[in-house]
């Protein structure tokens, strides 16, 4: 049976001062994703390898890695597409590496609640909130985000400016802003329209290329800039205090 070489980044905190590369030969099977290759290594070749995964079907968002230089879900990228190899597997870029392929995303976990990603609305008088399919289409694609962090890994602005709120967080803010049931756009504005929010984005567009869920965070940010600019002009033209 044919095989393929996987060059995997190793980093053992406390022992290594820098990551190193270790090569493994794994079977090249048509149905094997990069994640299956890693599981093969872990089960049969080297039990010390650390990486994250759970669902194996592009839902949980935990298996993001840099494969041949691109941020991908390792459960959704197939080894045969990298044949004859070698396949270079690195941790996601732009995040601190905890061990091997495991990165620390606490920066995002801290930023996410700042955009208030929940419905801000009084509960309806009776029954539940009603929404038409057209109203749902307004925000549906932004609600597909699985917090996989591929967009942060692809974004050079986030790399250079760690304070940047980042693609997924802004897209998730927009997901609620564009929801017909929500009335929180004004509450989110201070964060989304700050210098570290949408205005920091220079529309490189790589977040949207990397996103495995078609969220189009770059589009969400660009669209929000227009909304925020129009809102700022309204504030400017309207007397103070008239707003809200």
């Amino acid at each position: 049976m044919s095989t393929i070489t996987m060059e995997v980044t190793r980093y053992r905190p406390g022992e290594d001062s820098e990551p190193t590369v270790q090569s493994y030969e794994v079977p090249l099977r048509k149905e094997w994703a990069v994640l299956d290759g890693l599981n093969h290594i872990k089960d049969h070749l080297d039990g010390t390898l650390s990486y994250r995964w759970s669902c194996r079907m592009g839902i949980c968002g935990s298996c993001g890695m840099t494969v041949n230089g691109r941020p991908v879900l390792s459960c959704a990228s197939f080894l045969v597409d990298y044949a004859p190899g070698p396949v270079r597997v690195e941790p996601l870029r732009n995040f601190p590496v905890i061990r091997d392929l495991v990165v620390d995303i606490s920066d995002f976990m801290e930023k996410l609640p700042r955009v208030k990603p929940w419905l801000i609305a009084d509960p309806p008088e009776e029954g539940e909130f009603l929404q038409t399919p057209e109203e749902m289409d307004e925000y549906k694609k932004y609600s597909m985000c699985i917090n996989c962090m591929l967009c942060y890994s692809a974004c050079p602005v986030y790399a250079l400016e760690p304070e940047f709120l980042g693609p997924a967080a802004i897209a998730l803010g927009q997901r609620y802003n564009l929801d017909s049931r929500d009335h929180g756009a004004e509450d989110r504005r201070d964060v989304l329209a700050s210098a570290e929010g949408a205005w920091a984005c220079t529309f490189v567009g790589e977040c949207s290329t990397a996103c495995p869920k078609g969220v189009d965070p770059a589009g969400a940010i660009q669209r929000y800039k227009l909304t925020a600019a129009v809102a700022a002009m309204k504030d400017f033209l309207m007397p103070r205090g008239a707003r809200r």
């Binding site: 201070d190 210098a195 205005w199 220079t202 800039k225 925020a228 600019a229 700022a232």
Partner: protein
Amino acid sequence: MKRSPEPLVWLAFSGGGMAAALLVPVLLFLFGLAFPLGWIEPPSEEHLVALVRHPITKLVLFGLCALGLFHFAHRFRYTLYDGLKLKRFAVLIAAVCYGAAVVGSVASAIVLLSV
């Protein structure tokens, strides 16, 4: 809410980007290549003089120059921040870029008014 000038400069940047995309390629092709290279017979000088003295031309050209310069200032500012990792000089870069756009806009107004 703390007021940030960002929306204002972004609107100028966007307006300039749109104006530049729509109008500059044809103007640059005509006056930068086609006329100097003789691909197209240049218009007579009288016609050009009449054209640039027309108030609508002046207005359009002034808008194109001023917005185009703000477009440049804004984009170039971020190119320096990110492309050369110069974010630590952010204040200086912003002052120089937008300052140049303001000076350039005033200069365009002077040139256009004096023809």
